[in-house]
Subunit: 709 residues, 2 copies
Amino acid sequence: MNHSIEALFKPTNIAIIGASRKQESPGRSILRNLLKSDFHGQIFPVNPKAEEVMGIRCYSSVKDIKEKIDLAFIAIPRDAVVLAMEECAQRDIQAAIVISAGFKEVDEEGAELEDELTSIAKKHGMAVLGPNCLGVINTDREVKLNGTFAQHNSAEGNISFISQSGAVGVYALEFAAQSQVSFAKFASLGNKAVSNENDLLEAYMEDEQTKVIIAYLEDFKNAPKFFALAEKLRKQVPGKPLLVLKSGGSESGKRAAASHTGALTESDEVLDHLFDQYGIIRMPNLESLLNSAKAFSTEQIPRGNRLCIITNAGGPGIITTDAAEKVGLKVPPLSEELQKELSADMPATVSCDNPIDLVGDADESRYEKALKILIDSQEMDILLLLCTPQLMTDMEEIARTIGKYAEKAKQSGKMIVAVFADFAPESKVKDILIEKKVPYYQFGNHAVDACAAAVKYQKMKTKPKEESKQDFQIDKTQTEKLIRKGQKRENKFLTEPEAYKVFSDYGLKIADYDVAKNKEEAQKLAGSIGFPMVAKVVSEDVIHKSGNNGVVTHINNEEDLMQAYDNIHKGVNNIKPEADIKGILLQKMQKEGVELIIGARYNENYGHLLMFGLGGIFVELLKDVSFRRVPLDKQEAMDMIEGIRTKKILEGMRGRPAIDKEALADYLLRLSQLVKDFPQIKEIDINPVFGLQKGALIADARLIIRDSE
Amino acid sequence: MNHSIEALFKPTNIAIIGASRKQESPGRSILRNLLKSDFHGQIFPVNPKAEEVMGIRCYSSVKDIKEKIDLAFIAIPRDAVVLAMEECAQRDIQAAIVISAGFKEVDEEGAELEDELTSIAKKHGMAVLGPNCLGVINTDREVKLNGTFAQHNSAEGNISFISQSGAVGVYALEFAAQSQVSFAKFASLGNKAVSNENDLLEAYMEDEQTKVIIAYLEDFKNAPKFFALAEKLRKQVPGKPLLVLKSGGSESGKRAAASHTGALTESDEVLDHLFDQYGIIRMPNLESLLNSAKAFSTEQIPRGNRLCIITNAGGPGIITTDAAEKVGLKVPPLSEELQKELSADMPATVSCDNPIDLVGDADESRYEKALKILIDSQEMDILLLLCTPQLMTDMEEIARTIGKYAEKAKQSGKMIVAVFADFAPESKVKDILIEKKVPYYQFGNHAVDACAAAVKYQKMKTKPKEESKQDFQIDKTQTEKLIRKGQKRENKFLTEPEAYKVFSDYGLKIADYDVAKNKEEAQKLAGSIGFPMVAKVVSEDVIHKSGNNGVVTHINNEEDLMQAYDNIHKGVNNIKPEADIKGILLQKMQKEGVELIIGARYNENYGHLLMFGLGGIFVELLKDVSFRRVPLDKQEAMDMIEGIRTKKILEGMRGRPAIDKEALADYLLRLSQLVKDFPQIKEIDINPVFGLQKGALIADARLIIRDSE
């Protein structure tokens, strides 16, 4: 762990600047929490107006403290914060947590103060949480640091939490106090003036106490770095999942923008794809984030998605089966042998199908028999124990029995979860299961959601990203020249024939085409290209060809061709009289294959993204496209292709042949290399490209360059 | 309420047959619960082996009781149940609740016993719950009947619950005891040998204490009746919603079957459409059923879907906004005027956008100011109050303030819901809000799910089904003859030209066609129909024309036609040498319009269903079809058309013209009349029908008749 970040979590001595005597002030609350949590180091309250706070001697400034301080909490009015930071820096304090609010979240003046704060921290290499944050927790028994002003601390656990919002942190702590969720570390990011999610992610990656990392984020300080860290986590720390609740994709404005094709890369759904790419599990809401973290904290990762439900009640079993299948789990029937084995030990009324219905009068011994047999068998990956209180049901005894087998289930590679209709506050079911590390839920749908997240993680963790293989041998001379040329143009784009040259050099195939400068050339070309043809305007002044009357399709003979030639000239001149028409591009009309779209786009937050989808009306109608960040590897290219909802059409339905996915994956990798080689590319739109039984053919394209790099 | 059903819920005197002295026996538990709930009537335990149970005198048989008994609980071994039922009938007992299990759910013998039980009940007009059920609850303070063997009773409320599963009932009661859910009536259906969901639905419809009806169902005893009752509820008792959790659509087998087109009508998704048709709100799981019931129980139905979030914490506000938009609610910005009005009263740090962020130090007065202004404005339909405990937050005080405005909000037509990060068992927030009828949730996603259900209800309740208008003037003579003819055939179907005759008589238009008996006729017809054409075999032995080489498309000239004629004869004979080919149907190939599919199918559970969807690969690839039950009205026909996900394509995209939805709706209504007139029709498949700018043209069809009516 980075030295100054370590000071945030494992300080020896702490100063609390602003340790007020006022009840309910943040400074005092932090002091109270530190005392209550039994912090192992020494605490130095700083408050020039007080001799002591809560019985501890006060200092009027950090400068007066003789002992070496590792971490300073700053909880004073905003105008005094910069000076306090300066003093901390002078005292060589490694880390600070700025609780005070009123910075960039409020006004211009606050933003300026925040900038000053940032530069002090950077100059001195300090780690700083905040400003405007809740604080930090480290439940490690060697440290016992509760440096927040929240009401609840967490029990010692193995989940570490990064929360951009302090209130979400409080929310989680409140929930955790009554549920089965315990944290190793917790950090509230606040305004992220200095330290951010990446610093903490790195710290949690290395932290041995941490087995599960969860985060609530509203934006990324540096998304490419976050993804790189996630990838590193997947490769270097297998078994430590990263669950993220990323919010804020929904303000009406953003959503509206995302509803038209051009803005697809700006839509919140892109993140779903990128999270998949880097093995990050995206959670839809806080409840599911915490519920899934609970399951992961028991460190059971199932080998597959076969769920066995063992229940003492039919109805809840069926409801849970429905929920399980809805999230992609399978609830397959047991083999005949297993059914026989089970029923040998059970009363006749017991149903040994899946769900296994132990019937209402089931006691713990019936659960035990079923558990034993299922643990020994290899038919299932996840065992879900469901219990509803019926007349004879001793829920605590049943919980104890399940707990007894938790370790054995884990050893046999099975995930085990429990659902109890247990709502009474005085019930001990929860505690019994916590102790034995059995994740516990009150409703089946929560349990299966958590199981689905675990199955998803299992799949993702088995395919860490290969070292990028985009090392195609490309002669870049022509592309370099063309891109430089495009950059100088007002519209910053390459004409269609220029773009085709670039793609050809990168190994992509274009449907037969050529450019005619006059009618005679057009007639000659028709002979070599062949009908039916498409004619398209070539002009540095026309980006949107069809929107400017620049395209005629279905040209079936010479007469059509001559007319098209004239119509394009006239039509374009009508709309753009100033347009300089360099010629007419004639291209063979593609009749076979599946119409697809491939694109690349530079996204300010995430860098270059590739896009793949069905073309034609599908992209508009269904927005059925998949995304990956550049560079991508072969597996990721295939994932993109397989990632669209309509992928069945690629596999040949209704008598159509299956298309060549390998060729498409190859195109994606080559485009990945192209935008890596020329990061000044803003946008590539290959629409359509026809996927064929063998290979793929581009039938239209454009390439736009960024204003500045 | 039906007299004998009334005896179930409002008995004066109760007999408990099987009032055992054994702890934890169902009979004794029911007795205990009746005593505990302070039942207003008199209780007569029946147990020949005991003098008294729990201090109450026992009878050895119902025959020995002198007083008139209204309701008998039967909780004795299954073999004794029939005799007990007989005795009840002789004593003229109106209603029985058979707790005993071991009937048709277990074995053949049990099924026979159940049949005997049913016939006794039917003969004497008795209402019977069970066998194999949990019992009944009526919290009405005039009755106070807790006739279940569950551990928890419910507080007096206005939600009435029908549960096919006893365990789901127990689950709900356990949850309810700790949440804000209270029941008016509860009934466990068990095996539904006599009384079923329809009897109870009817009773709850009439019951004044009941304001919300919820049901857990695994199957329907009589689905058409259920739908008819739901429709009657919507028309005659506006404001009393029906929420149903219907499970069991998921066993692997059913799902697999549902994945191919032919089985679409058997898939669980059909029910989503039928529930929409009849104004039933389908809930995905037990938790959401109970959470939504909680919101409905406060009898606030919002006028629209504009949600305003008022929060003291940004993060949870954003998360809730995301969740709201995901379920179709809008979180629109406040008008400038309203923002001004709000900010005039608030500190500068408060954000008066939507979510309104009152900031962490908000006390109840800040909530109060916001509430007052929002209640008076007409910009929002739902107010969601969100509260996270921060340093100064007095959650109970804030809850009290919200409670104070609940009635006022309701009066102004607004729905109000609260989300508190309040997990401590000792907190009073819940009770404060319950008392003031503010639905309360611990997570924003639960609240917005409930709000979305309320918005859905509001929309559905405003459009009760019109009296069916299928009174087209049709001459049925030819159709009658043809259907009778088809019925006599082995394959029970009409040939394509016969089906076309039926559709023509019913006012549907067919793409130009005629049948050629020989090549000369074919040549002659080509002249009148015109190329391009399709040729299709006409034979009473060939249902699946293309699967039997019976179709040639894209016939562009006479030569093609002659070849097609020969190919079809040869091809069909190859596969079906015995096929008697009556002729070749020649039909104009349709080039314009949108390829659609319209179908009708007889479903054993639901009766005749109509289906509408995009044709071609869409139906297979996306399974994007909508369903309604016959008969349907104009609005429902339009709902079907508008109900597909890809409806944008009907409205004209990418320069295509919009198609004539009115004409399609007309076709649906005419087909509805056709299957109503001829219920022996099993299946109609019109695939494709081309939707045109004006009208619609059928280009292929088949009609199959049922084996028996």
